[in-house]
Amino acid sequence: MNDWPLLSTIIFLPLLGALLLTLIRGQDKDVALAAKATALWVAMSTFLLTLVLWYAFDPRQEGFQFAESSVWIAESGIGYRVGVDGISLFFVVLASFLTVLCILASWRSVAKRVRDFMAAFLVLESLSLGAFLATDTVLFYLFFEGVLLPMFYIIGVWGGERRIYAAFKFFLYTLLGSLLMLLSILSLTWIGGTTSFSELMQTEFSPALQKILWLGFFASFAVKTPMWPFHTWLPDAHVEAPTAGSVMLAGLLLKMGGYGFLRFCLPILPDASQFYAPLVFVLSAIAVVYASLVALVQTDIKKLIAYSSVAHMGFVTAGLFADNAQALSGAVMQMISHGLVSAALFLCVGILYERAKTRDIGAFRAVVQPMPVYARLTMVFMLASIGLPGTSGFVGEILTLLGVFRASPATAWVLALGMILGAGYMLHLYRRVFFGASEAKPAALYDLHLRENVILTSLVLPVLWIGLYPMPFLRIVALPLAPILGAAAP
């Protein structure tokens, strides 16, 4: 059992499933159904495997666990190295969990080219799992940028009206950032002489060099996170992407930015991270306030939630660079929480859109009457997004805020202001859509059926769990964060 390459199995099982999908033959209708079923089974199995991983994970052991390492390109010292630690563990579980939900959520809403859609999702899952599990810079880059390809298809083929524009914008924006990061990775490889994370962490780079390399990484992760002012691709991509695409985008792809900061900038380039921390604080503070204000005036529900993502990621970036344990674990918790909550909110919007075929806030009124269960579940997610105590959002935000306050009180004040604004736009949205007098029934709205109920409820549980009893998560997360804090020169 110990020799079994569990991580490789987790990474490549979905890819195998995608290949399997191409073998399905028959009538269009049968193919679609078989493809959905196969994809669901593959995603479920992967999810179960990640749960096994969580169970078998030893929270007291430092460094990467379940590590696999083999030579890939001997000439350049590039290896196939994967491993899991406290930081990546939850992202891996999150990735496989969200994929299952996405496949369920697209069960009916995707009508054309179902097989390709499912295959794209499985490939996307494979690549994002790989990005979180890779412990080799080149391998990480391969997965990190590879994620673009299935996402490009998902937005471009199954997206809304302006899907082509959005797909190109998303692709090119991210690609430019990624390639700049590639230059930094190449320099690390060349100067450090290795591509392994753990060896790079032990290598000292001169501060001047760090500052240049840091900018390369920053270019990529700031676009991916996204940080203001590099966020402009996000609203377009979210609005045009199909619901499941938005879920993956918000739940996983954005996390890769923060994860990248945690893996590269902080431990490998600590001096530069300290040097640039004020810049990150300013950008984060602007992001939180600016995105919240923009969210206030949106008329498209999906766009509003997209902007709220930008605001929440502002918390994450500020927390990451606050250089203390509280803020760091707060930022990681915030990422996990946001992965669940924003995914849930996009699913909620998708459910509404499926029924009414519009996402315009003005088109809805008193939705609570035809859809009471839906209204209740959405309320939970909105409150979690605001950061109400007892939900996962609270844990992340309060820890981040406390930590950032110690590093930069001014930033913390602005972030707190952002929280108030966040409550403003969310509650405003909720009031306009769910309450009010219902003069006429807007459209044929009906309450959740079983599948949707299962999807949303399964998201409520972890949101409340993290909110009420975050210790199991915090304990696992905290251990690998300690060396990151120690990395910076005093």
Binding site: E75, E145, F152, I164, F168, L172, L179, L186, W190
Partner: protein, 502 residues
């Protein structure tokens, strides 16, 4: 006597076989009935090319590429050294030749479906066409093992003259004739430059072999004349590889010339010219590297930027290929500009992968039919994912790879070029390469967009089973080379080590 033959065989074996076989095929083509001659000669040539490549690969362990094993009989050594001074089959030449022979074979295979089409078959579906292609290949093989200016010129001219004919082969087509003429005029100009450069080199060194030029420039006698000669020679070769600002002929010739010729121009001809450039730079001009590094860096910069920007508005696939080739040449030239063995290794690695991708693209281009007519419009690929999902998938893999996106081999190709650029303090060039890559990614994914996001065009089909296999083969190769690039890297490394005499 047999030892003289052996010496000949060691340095010129492939060329001798190729030349004799070409003449035999010419005869055979005349004797065969006209109906079958083109097809039979083509099949035989493909067989010949593949067999020669296989022979080269198989025999590389046994041949030590040196004359040590020869007897000390003076006549034999004299002949052997005479040949050796002009042509040498070393590991580098072997690498180049195998690449040239295989790409030419593939070009002939995928060209079949094009030349057989009724609209073009009258002028193109003739056995002479294949013979001319073989002659060009002979010239290319001579180019990659050239050891002296004379050999260089002979090889280059044989290749060029044959290519002019190939470009103008479609006699009843005005555009083809125009392309041939244009190519010939500008090619003649570049030949003149080359000759002038060679004469200056000879004038200042007093010898024509690369080794003497190298030692002359090493011993501090690098006169102005030598440098001017070098620049003129380099510009002539820059013309052949269509590096900016010597690229003007490329889009027009690519658009006008018959597609099967363009496939040849864009693959094997590029390999030969780049290999020649590498040999010349390393074996003759390495001591002057400080002089030519900035030249190549500038050529690289100009080619990348102009290529990337000029590809954007193209809607004709052949012009598209022409400009995107200029971008790729620019990125390859970054590797040259490093002037290090690792940089050159990266170039060979990139070149091999780039050839694979280009062959796959041409396999589609040559097979495209709109309402039965050969088509070269980009938008005729619209909705190919509906009408022909497998081909669309394979082509999009190639496009992603061309754009340098992981997890495809094009990524590692760029990876090594940029790595060596950083290592040689050419970070600014690598940065420009990144910008060019992003711009070029736009037009590569535009092809993916056309195939996947746009509405299908019912009348567009892809013909030819062999083209399909080459396309799939290229796509698979691009994936396999990502999973295990080591083999190709090692081959490139061996080839480069010989050049640098490591």
């Amino acid at each position: 006597m047999s030892e003289v033959l052996a010496a000949l065989w060691f340095s010129l074996g492939v060329e001798l076989v190729l030349a004799c076989a070409t003449l035999l095929l010419l005869l055979l083509g005349l004797l065969l009935p006209e109906r079958n001659s083109a097809r039979l000669v083509c099949y035989l040539s493909i067989l010949l090319l593949v067999a020669l490549a296989a022979l080269l690969l198989w025999s590389r362990q046994d041949w030590r590429f040196s004359n040590e094993s020869f007897s000390s009989e003076p006549a034999v050594t004299a002949v052997a050294s005479l040949i050796d001074r002009h042509f040498r089959l070393d590991a580098f030449a072997l690498f180049g030749k195998v690449l040239i022979l295989l790409t030419t074979a593939c070009v002939l295979v995928i060209g079949q479906v094009f030349v057989r089409h009724e609209a073009v078959s009258k002028s193109l579906y003739r056995f002479e066409y294949v013979i001319v292609v073989l002659l060009a290949t002979l010239g290319m093989c001579l180019m990659v093992s050239a050891q002296s200016l004379l050999a260089l010129y002979v090889g280059l001219e044989l290749q060029s003259l044959a290519l002019y004919i190939c470009a103008a082969f479609q006699r009843d087509n005005l555009r083809s004739s125009e392309a041939g003429l244009k190519y010939f005029m500008l090619g003649a100009l570049s030949s003149a430059l080359l000759l002038f450069g060679c004469s200056l080199l000879y004038g200042s060194v007093g010898a024509i072999d690369f080794a003497s030029i190298s030692s002359a420039s090493l011993s501090g006698e690098s006169s102005l004349m030598l440098q001017v000669g070098m620049v003129l020679t380099l510009s002539a070769i820059a013309f052949k590889i269509s590096a900016v600002p010597f690229h003007m002929w490329t889009p027009d010739v690519y658009e006008g010339a018959p597609s099967s010729t363009v496939a040849f121009l864009a693959t094997a001809a590029k390999v030969a010219a780049l290999a020649l450039l590498m040999r010349l730079l390393v074996e003759a001009f390495l001591p002057l590297s400080e002089a030519w590094q900035p030249i190549l860096a500038l050529l690289a910069l100009a080619s990348m930027l102009l290529g990337a920007l000029a590809t954007l508005p193209q809607s004709n696939l052949k012009r598209f290929v022409a400009y995107s080739a200029i971008t790729h040449i620019g990125i390859l030239l970054i590797g040259f500009a490093t002037a290090t063995p690792e940089g050159m290794r990266a170039v060979l690695f990139y070149l091999s992968i780039y050839m694979t991708m280009t062959l796959g693209l041409f396999a589609v281009l040559l097979a495209m039919r709109n309402a039965g007519q050969p088509s070269e419009r980009l938008y005729d690929l619209s909705g190919l994912s509906h009408t022909d999902p497998k081909a669309a998938l394979a082509l999009s893999v190639l496009m992603f790879s061309m754009a340098g996106l992981p997890p495809f081999a094009g990524f590692f190709a760029k990876f090594y070029i940029f790595l060596e650029a950083l290592r040689s303090d050419l970070a600014w060039l690598a940065l420009c390469g990144v910008v060019a890559s992003v711009v070029s990614a736009f037009y590569y994914i535009r092809i993916v967009k056309v195939m996947y996001f746009d509405e299908p065009q019912e009348q567009v089909t892809l013909r030819g089973r062999s083209n399909r296999w080459i396309l799939y083969g290229a796509a698979v190769a691009v994936v396999v080379l990502t999973l295990s690039p080591s083999w190709l890297l090692q081959q490139s490394e061996q080839a480069v080590r010989v050049l640098f005499a490591l």
